[in-house]
Symmetry: none
Subunit: 229 residues, 4 copies
């Protein structure tokens, strides 16, 4: 009996050790990413609704059940990708924060987005982004994610433009919000045009964006006109 009792204690102790999660948090996150990457690739090629779970399963190298161990449903997967995109893009905006020359920061923001636009490794993400724009029209959660995703840079641009207007660097007859939406729209359109595989000359187009921002600047002509008035 004494021996059994000792064994019981040992067993309990070992059981306690075994009660730790079977795979580490890092391993779990790695599997999650593995699935998300497979989903990204599939969605990028065929869109959300033309991609079957079987495609994602096959591409992930896991089993059907395993995928559902990490994501509750296909919709969950779609939303996770939307959130993922949301999180990644938040990083892009950081370059615009701070208190330097607002026009310079605006140009910096444009450069970052230009880089994001032209990075070959981001192709799939951009394509999925477009599918997300369409999906946002009918899926509230995706829409929220998308809208919040553009609200962030918009707020930044608005702040920069307002500061620039206050400093007399940018024309005051255009709304800051409208300018922000215009700049964002340009990049949205560029993503579309680029992903459709047209002969999209990124360099020239980025120059045009720079030109657009410069066009917002106050010229002597404007100064005179305003002085006269």
């Amino acid at each position: 009996m004494r021996e059994i009792s000792q064994n019981d204690h040992l067993v309990s102790y070992l059981a306690g050790l075994a009660a730790m999660p079977k795979i580490s948090e890092r391993q779990r996150e790695s599997r999650r990413q593995q699935i998300l990457e497979a989903a990204l690739a599939c969605f990028s090629e065929d869109g959300f609704h033309q991609t079957g779970m079987a495609d994602i399963v096959k591409r992930s190298g896991l089993s059907h059940g395993a995928v559902y161990l990490y994501f509750q449903s296909k919709d969950d997967l779609i939303e996770a990708l939307a959130d993922d995109r949301h999180r990644r893009e938040a990083v892009l905006n950081s370059v615009a924060q701070g208190s330097g020359d607002p026009l310079e920061r605006l140009h910096a923001l444009v450069r970052v987005y230009a880089q994001w636009l032209t990075d070959p490794a981001g192709e799939a993400r951009r394509r999925v982004g477009i599918h997300g724009w369409a999906e946002a029209l009918r899926n509230r959660r995706v829409r929220t994610s998308v809208v919040e995703g553009i609200d962030m840079p918009r707020a930044l641009i608005v702040a920069l433009v307002e500061r620039a207007q206050h400093d007399g660097l940018i024309k005051r007859d255009l709304g800051a919000d409208a300018i922000a939406r215009t700049l964002i729209a340009i990049f949205q359109g560029f993503v579309l045009q680029k992903c459709w595989g047209e002969e999209f000359d990124s360099k020239a187009c980025m120059a045009a964006v720079t030109g657009v921002i410069d066009g917002f600047r106050i010229t002597r002509h404007d100064v005179k006109r305003r002085t006269r008035a």
Copy 2:
């Protein structure tokens, strides 16, 4: 009872006639439109792949078989709607009727798009357009439609910008194609932002576009700089 039986005979008889008279061309076109409108409404609400043929059939008031008499497949319907001829024709007209001044013509073009963007009756078309943009990523024929749809206005803008540059109205350091793509991108982005339905101030944004075009104009600063160089 006897009459119904006679009718049955009549039906069989007519069905057997190879030379059975077809419905008028006008009726045929009307039916086609009826189906396209139903499809437009459905696709606008749920996207191409979340809309079932049954939805379209129900909304059109016709039968499954009837729809397939006018369109070979669901993809056929999608392609028919992705190809938005209306807009292209409107653009053509607007520019054909414009005055000689290329900048004025550019502004006219912008006005046409602005109208298309803000017309409440065009909401469904705009939404379907966005779904088409996503679909263009995986469906070659849809992509061709979409790309051709923007190639036409792009060519127009390029021509106008080149003339304006030649006339010394627009800076020469920006590619005409890049400017065209930028202007088109702006409208694509506006369509997205407006359809997501979040506080999009169309009037202010259109003013910003006008500002963008004005920004492309040559200023004394530019003239001086170029003279010096």
Copy 3:
């Protein structure tokens, strides 16, 4: 033009004829029965949850889609069978209605149920009934159907027993409801025992039921006892 117009009228007329339901109500009901019979056979053999829709589909001779044309879901099929049973059993109870000798009517009711119990063609229905009894524990709709199914004969028996008690034919010291529940319980238990394939001697058991009812009758012993009290 006149000919076309005439043709249009003809077409409309024929279209009007064709707008009648494609299959007659009788045909539709026949298909429904075809499916219900297949489901009954499958459920009888394997229970509701171990029977796959594929089994029912195969047995019905129809296609997967066709079954779903008549029933919304597997649960719908289960509930339809419960309702079906409900409706069929309602007929059994009719023999007990009327105003004749209550004891005789009770015996008549027993005979009808005995017949229902021993009818070889009803085997599948009895088995499905048992599965329904279990299902009633967790499916509200099935439970409602089952409970209503026994409420009907119970109410009848209660009425007969009360009349018999009033007429001095049955002991008054037993609740009419309890007697009704007891008689119903007997048949429920018989169904179980019979369906399990035990050596169930229907004739002897029915005699026992008759004996039970006779046992409820007032005897001289009771009369004396009541007189004394």
Copy 4:
């Protein structure tokens, strides 16, 4: 960290020992009961086939693997629960301890069942019992359990009734087996009616059962009739 690493080694070492000490028989039985209780609760709520192993695992507080160490399969669990030894033993005891009078013993048996029927703690068992009745229709081993479960009390009742008939206490024109089956059927039906939870007056119904047994007794009327014949 070093300690954990040491533990890992210890675990590996113990796992490698073929002679790894087993847990005590008492612990093993306790684990088995733990699982059976969890399964009972789950099956009672959702039935055998709507309960997942995951439900049982969660409720038992153990792991999937652990459950499979004690039961080979889900069917194994079902069979273990379908075989309700508790009740059978209670019946045996009650009759073994009864007085010599067969009628009194019969009443004692009824009291035991009445208690089993009304014990609130037995609700889950009764519900699982019903699921077992349905399962018995398609699972040979469950059926064997169930049938054997009623064979034992049936044999007891048959013996008691035959003695009572021999002693002139019960009518001889009813088969002892039929009477036994009838009494058992009554309780089966009562279990159903009670578990469906609709205004089942246990007390009144038990009185009715007593009445049924009394009804089987020989009355002066019967004696006379038999004498005459």
